[in-house]
Symmetry: C2
DNA sequence: ATATAAAATTATAATGAATATAAATCAAAA
DNA sequence: TTTTGATTTATATTCATTATAATTTTATAT
């Protein structure tokens, strides 16, 4: 059972053709739960895929998040981050070092689609901001 | 009791010198609860303040949000929005028209500073995304 | 197999929000 | 009034993201 095979099947289950590039990007997302951004993914894969283009990373991440296979986190003002964990959970982001951590969601938010105010809600994101454990220690 | 006076006093209470520009921007934030962005504010004030620069709008909004006098909403990928209502509440943003609505916060999130995961939490933002009432109707 | 069509990837350019920098203007205090 | 510091302004720059079009790859049909 290898990782590539899993990612390929996973992509197929979302109707996404599993190209080498897409598999590599999905693999990276599966293996690295650090909420990576485009640059981190590109930098990690580029050495072993010298022809890989940033555009492909952008395209693939947009494709995956549009399909619901990954989450696009709008939590960092400077750049988008992505999360392979699509289960309901919140995030903490450190304003010093930028580190993003997963946090549990209050039970009241765990329910699925609702319609508060008559709007159709498709996703809920809970973002805590502050100073992380490490940065608190270092100061 | 005029609006300018209120904004000036409000700015002073945050230790911010109430210049004409800052008062005008704060006035606009107080009067327009539409979660405006830099461009909206600039466009609204520019006619009556021809020399106003976008930089001043950026500077002032950063100053105000750093001081906690307004909220900076990281909810729209394309641009930042600001909110004069600093009380705990969540937001809904429509992916079609960009409209941002206020929503109540679940009681479990109303508490102030916490330290989940050992991190110091300074703010919490809850963002619902989907299709608003109006856009649902129009389609 | 080969030709053809469709899809994916890539390179390049363009957009646009936000910041950096420095000059000019304004306000306050000596 | 002079001087000092803060604020505003104009300009340039950065950088994430998107747009566009060309190239390459993959799938399909003959």
């Amino acid at each position: 059972m290898n990782i590539n095979q899993n990612s390929a099947e996973f992509l197929l289950s979302f109707g996404i053709r599993p190209s080498m590039q897409r598999i590599a990007i999905m693999d990276y997302m599966m293996a690295n739960r650090t909420h990576p951004g485009v640059e981190e993914i590109f930098a990690a894969l580029s050495p072993s895929m010298p022809t890989l283009s940033r555009m492909t990373v952008y395209n693939t991440l947009n494709l995956l998040s549009d399909a619901g296979a990954i989450l696009s986190l709008e939590i960092d003002r400077t750049a988008r981050h992505f999360d392979a964990d699509t289960s309901p959970h919140g995030h903490f982001i450190c304003s010093r070092c930028g580190h993003i951590d997963d946090l549990p969601l209050p039970p009241s938010l765990e329910a699925g689609e609702q319609m508060p105010g008559g709007h159709l809600v498709q996703s809920v994101q809970l973002a805590y901001r502050g100073v992380c454990k490490n940065c608190l220690k270092d100061q």
